[in-house]
């Protein structure tokens, strides 16, 4: 297709490698799951694949990857619910490895910050320091990928609640738009041809 598409693919391969091979039936199941959850608000406090402690840690990391400021971030998007549902369905092949990595991460945090108890209890600045130390690991790369999935993928998958990820990025999902699309193409005067001597 083109370089942009492939460049992502090359750079994201490390993270994508963490995703198992999937097929449509699994995705369909995930979507069904998400739709069912969306239809039953309040049920979202229940976690399926993660324990409450694991969920708290995942939510805390996601909140540092896409922090909340005056605009919503990973927390408001419900990223942790997306990840939980994913691990119970279309990301299930990753579940064991991920939970193992998460335990190792928490063990490292506990060793370095024995008073805090766990990552979620650390102050934000300390959390950032901890994450800086692991930002090149596969664990962090995977969580970043899943956090972005949960922020920006269709709300049908259980994240991106109320479309907060799409509002944040100015993305609108529609089947039809009309020009002008933005500020700069509003008053475009039309393409001005080049003089013949330009063909050198």
């Amino acid at each position: 297709m083109d370089a942009g598409r492939r460049s992502f693919v090359a750079s994201a391969t490390g993270a994508l490698a963490a995703l198992a091979a999937l097929d449509w039936t699994e995705v369909a199941r995930a979507a069904e799951h998400a739709h069912a959850a969306a239809a039953a608000p309040g049920a979202s406090a229940e976690f399926t694949a993660l324990t409450a402690a694991q969920a708290a840690c995942v939510a805390a990391i996601a909140a540092r990857i896409v922090p909340t400021d005056d605009a919503p971030g990973a927390t408001e998007a419900g990223v942790v619910y997306f990840i939980d549902r994913g691990l119970a369905s279309f990301l299930s092949a990753n579940r064991e490895d991920f939970q193992k990595s998460l335990a190792e991460f928490e063990a490292r945090v506990a060793a370095a910050h024995p008073d805090a108890g766990d990552f979620a209890a650390l102050p934000a600045a300390t959390q950032d320091e901890v994450l800086k130390g692991v930002e090149t690991t596969a664990f962090f790369g995977t969580l970043r990928l899943w956090t972005l999935f949960g922020l920006l993928a269709s709300p049908a998958y259980g994240g991106n609640r109320d479309g907060v990820g799409w509002k944040l990025t100015g993305f609108e999902e529609a089947h039809r738009f009309e020009p002008p699309f933005g500020y700069y193409d509003r008053d475009y005067p039309g393409f001005v041809p080049y003089p013949p001597e330009a063909a050198t």
Binding site: R144, T169, F177, Y183
Partner: protein, 550 residues
């Protein structure tokens, strides 16, 4: 309309393997010429109502693509490395549905230029590479490029590029409406003395041949078009082939072997139907248009006692000289809103740096375009540099997405014998067919030209007045949708797989036409050329058949 259906035991005139960019054209050309054609497609047949705006599914869960679970591949950079099974996304990826990758392409339709066909003669040998001239010239292919413009449907502005190659007719449709990225690209590039122009796109800008105009939904790259405005073979060639009453497109029919007889002639194809039952379709001739990855795999997997190294492989070159096209990206943020998620990916390009220039110290050339890649997920995942990976810098970048655009460079890949598609000695797919093993490492010049051109792209963003810019260095490809060169065409049977008419040198009734036929990589955007080759090959093959020369 009742569509013709053949029985496997009927010996049809042609079996075409693959229904994509090349196979769709081949099916129409041969059926309109009066021949009976069965087109075999591995994947299902989807329609406009089946295509979704689901970025997670289409981009990260292999939605309509070949899947590493059921269609696995192994990858290694060098022949001396261990080839490992690929996870997540296959090394060679394509849309596995009727219409093939012409469904999910971005629709950048650049012609090759006269120089592409004779660059080896002009520049001389590049030691250690398979750099070669094509057996045909631009002039020979030009009428078929024009056929693509008119019969597939391309929007553009003829003569807008001062170095536009000769064309016998203008485009049938005007360019698509310019986007803010196109306006800014044009502004910056003109300031630098360059010659940006409206991008030729295989997307209808106005209603065309029964299809509606583009509605600017923005889901081109990686998606099927729910409006039928994208000129995929699914919406153009295939319905026209079926309308002849002589063509059947057989979906969910996975060809795994081309059979030959004692005389060494092809007799038909063995395939798995939708229930994974083995079937055999008899045919008087076989045309393989399965893409630059699956075509060599099929020929190699068809090895038999008479052809122990695979079909059409007396040169030993089936699967060799795989080429991807290199490229790199720069990003820029502007003062006002661009809303790049709306409409097609590209509206302005330039070709000022098309030719290779020995003064640069390396081989290569390319084009630059103003574009948006898939959003919103693709924006942070492959549009941002490492320093914006997470935290406040990522948050800021996400909020600035409506004011951000990208400039991509698209460049050459040199043909290297070591870069190849071969058969993995152990791995098999879900049908127990031996899987493909991909070996690929870019030539140093490929990376050098990608970075060199990306510097020019970055300068355009600065000249256009971007308030913040970044540049991402070219990386060695480990996968690609551009699958080129693996059954190269040529006059010398010891140095090529097919002749100038796409007939295999070894088997008179076996033809091969798709990205695998290309001798050099062009400068990116190969589909236009693949389809021009298919129109040309289709015309010649039909002529041979009528004269009893197959």
């Amino acid at each position: 309309m009742s569509v013709k259906q053949f029985r496997p035991q009927d010996s049809v005139d042609f079996v075409v393997v693959g229904s994509g960019a090349a196979g769709g054209v081949m099916a129409r050309e041969l059926s309109q010429a009066g021949f009976e054609v069965v087109v075999m497609e591995q994947g299902p047949r989807l329609g406009p109502g089946d295509f979704e705006h689901d970025e997670l599914k289409y981009w990260y869960l292999n939605g309509i693509m070949n899947k590493p679970g059921e269609s696995p591949q192994t990858f290694r950079k060098l022949p001396t490395d261990e080839a490992r099974r690929v996870q997540g996304l296959n090394a060679l990826w394509y849309a596995r549905i009727v219409g093939g990758s012409s469904n999910h392409f971005t629709a950048n339709f650049w012609r090759l230029r006269p120089v592409d066909f004779k660059e080896r003669s002009l520049l001389g040998d590049i030691p250690g590479t398979g750099f070669a001239d094509w057996p045909i010239s631009y002039d020979e292919l030009e009428p078929y490029y024009t056929k693509v413009d008119w019969e597939i449907g391309v929007s553009g502005l003829a003569g807008a590029c001062p170095t536009d190659p000769p064309r016998s007719k203008p485009y049938p449709m005007p360019p698509l409406p310019v986007k803010s990225s196109g306006v800014l690209f044009e502004r910056g590039a003109r300031k630098l003395g360059l010659h940006p122009y409206p991008a030729p796109m295989a997307i209808a800008s106005v209603p065309y041949r029964g299809r509606p105009a583009c509605q600017h939904c923005g889901f081109c790259i990686g998606y099927g078009c729910e409006w039928r405005a994208k000129s995929s073979t699914l919406y153009t060639m295939i319905p026209e082939a079926e309308a002849t009453g002589r063509c059947e497109v057989r979906a969910e029919s996975y060809v795994f072997r081309v059979e030959t007889d004692a005389r060494g002639r092809a007799t038909g194809v063995a395939y798995f139907d939708g229930e994974r039952r083995e079937q055999f379709q008899k045919a008087r001739a076989v045309v393989v248009c399965a893409n630059g990855g699956e075509t060599p795999r099929l020929l190699l997997n068809s090895a038999n006692a008479k052809f122990p190294d695979g079909l059409a492989n007396s040169s030993g070159l089936v699967g060799k000289y795989l080429m991807f096209n290199q490229g790199a990206i720069s990003g820029g943020v502007f003062e006002h809103v661009l809303n790049e998620h709306k409409s097609v990916q590209v509206t302005r390009i330039l070709h000022d740096f098309y030719d290779s220039d020995p003064k640069r110290g390396f081989y290569g050339g390319g084009g630059i375009d103003a574009r948006i890649n898939p959003v919103p997920l693709g924006f942070p995942l492959f549009g941002l540099p490492p320093e914006m990976a997470w935290g406040a810098p990522l948050k800021r970048a996400l909020r600035e997405m409506p004011r951000t655009m990208f400039v991509n460079s698209h460049t050459t890949s040199l043909a290297l014998e070591r870069n190849s598609v071969s058969i993995d000695p152990e791995l098999k797919d879900a049908w127990s067919v031996p899987a493909m093993r991909v070996t690929y490492k870019d030539h140093a010049d490929d990376l050098a030209i990608a970075n060199w051109l990306n510097d020019r792209g970055h300068a355009i963003l600065e000249a256009a007045g971007a308030t913040r810019t970044w540049k991402m260095a070219a990386v060695e490809w480990v996968n690609s949708p551009h699958l080129l060169g693996t059954c190269r065409m040529g006059d010398d049977p010891t140095k090529s797989v097919v002749d100038r008419y796409h007939r295999s040198h070894d088997i008179p009734n076996l033809f091969v036409c798709d990205g695998s036929s290309m001798v050099t990589s062009g400068r990116g955007q190969p589909t236009m050329t693949i389809q021009a080759l298919a129109f040309r090959a289709g015309e010649h093959i039909a002529r041979f058949a009528k004269r009893g020369e197959i």
